[in-house]
């Protein structure tokens, strides 16, 4: 196998697939549908981060191939009922790539319950929530063509309501490391935000420094900038939960779940210039694949650059073991 990470035409991608090697592919549904069967999984989007800049491309795909020492164990399709076993299916020393369509049942199950899956943090999992060309997207539509999808290259199936995973093994001298970067920092004066009830995507009430409030109303009435996410600190690791694009009324649907035993805080954009030049921080020799939150591009693109943009698709939820928002996640392979 050859390590590849680039935009390619459908013809070039088809030629690569025909070599029999394993590939991870992101692109517009019409292009993915043209690709031959083979050892690949795909997720729909037509937005990419290339060299830190956003690219909209409905004709080419972003294709990732893997170094020779990376061996594909299998491609597996997961429904909502089977997604909790994704880490158990992974190799003891390896990594898994997981793609789930936005709004799909497995993605909702994973958002709410994956932090409790056994083995989750023992087997590196990276991936993303797939989207599509925004003007054509209707999350409520019963019509398949209006919804994001994942592709199983081995079967040729293209679905809106399953997850696709590729499980890989590594030799003993290599280890996979999943990393995440957020361009946001906690606001110094942020109240501590906690929630009752567990694993919630739909939020009404919250506790701010222990005082119960209706969170959507509080955000509007206090002019909180909800383009930036809430952030929790997981033993030193910042994990974002994104607000919806628009908050109205007394209820909101978050893009990721909140948990009752986690403390969240409002954030603001970090000011250090490194957040706009993330490619300098990434070791290109180790980098395999990654993704960047599309909302960081749509909202905070500065001088053409996406905050913390890494080469790969622009996505609608980033998976680094669990789902996070407003972040970039990527996979590196290191010496064990």
């Amino acid at each position: 196998m050859v390590s590849i990470s680039k935009l390619a035409s459908a013809e070039e991608a088809a030629k690569l697939i025909e070599t029999g090697n394993a590939y991870l592919i992101s692109g517009d549904e019409r292009v993915l549908a043209k690709l031959p069967k083979g050892n690949w999984i795909g997720g729909t989007t037509c937005y990419f981060s290339i060299g830190g800049k956003a690219v909209e491309d409905r004709d080419n795909v972003f294709i990732t191939g893997f170094p020779e020492f990376v061996k594909m164990k299998c491609i597996k399709t997961y429904s909502e009922n089977f997604i909790p076993s994704v880490a158990k299916d992974a190799c003891e020393n390896g990594f898994s790539i997981l793609l789930m369509p936005a709004g799909s049942e497995p993605s909702l199950q994973y958002a709410q319950f994956s932090p409790m899956y056994s083995d989750l943090f023992f087997r590196p999992i990276i991936g993303w929530i797939t989207g599509m060309y925004l003007p054509d997207w209707n999350p409520a539509s019963p019509h398949k063509e209006k919804r994001p999808k994942v592709f199983n290259g081995q079967t040729g199936e293209c679905e809106i309501n399953v997850a696709e995973a590729m499980h890989f093994s590594l030799p003993a001298n290599k280890v996979a490391v999943v990393k995440t970067i957020s361009p946001f920092k906690v606001k110094e004066n942020s109240p501590v935000i906690t929630f009752e009830g567990n694993n919630s995507l739909i939020v009404k009430e919250a506790y701010l420094n222990g005082k119960q409030v209706n969170l959507p109303k509080y955000i509007i009435e206090n002019n909180i900038d909800y383009r930036t996410p809430m952030q929790a600190n997981y033993s030193g690791i910042p994990i974002n939960v994104s607000f919806p694009s628009e908050i109205q009324g007394d209820e909101m649907l978050l893009r990721q779940a909140v948990f009752s035993d986690v403390e969240y805080r409002f954030t603001e954009m970090a000011e250090q210039p490194d957040t706009y030049s993330i490619n300098n921080l990434i070791d290109k020799e180790k980098y395999i694949c990654g993704c960047t939150c599309i909302f960081n591009h749509l909202t905070f693109n500065k001088n053409g650059y996406i905050p913390c943009g890494v080469d790969g698709p622009l996505t609608f939820g980033e998976i680094a073991y669990q789902i996070m928002g407003n972040a970039s996640t990527y996979l590196e392979l290191e010496e064990a």
Binding site: M116, F122, V178, S235, A320
Partner: protein
């Protein structure tokens, strides 16, 4: 490889899991794993829950001992 991990009955494991020792991990999976077990123990602080938590965290540290070398040195100094 000789382990540098203290045994499971070292009290500093309990201190880590009960947040008496706070540590900021740089390895994403370590932060998520330790945090998951701290939260589990906060929800139900029983000996049985502690045993489940220490098994999970210890196994994680064993698997990633080499990558967590600096964290282990800092936590168990």
């Amino acid at each position: 490889m000789d382990t540098i991990l203290p045994s499971k009955d070292d009290c500093r494991w309990r201190d880590l899991l009960e947040s008496k020792i706070t540590h900021n991990f740089s390895l994403l999976a370590a932060g998520l794993c330790v945090s998951r077990n701290i939260r589990m123990l906060k929800r139900k602080n029983t000996e049985e829950t502690y045993q489940t938590a220490i098994e999970d965290v210890y196994m994680f540290f064993q698997k990633y001992e080499k990558m967590l070398k600096n964290d282990i040195a800092e936590i168990f100094k």
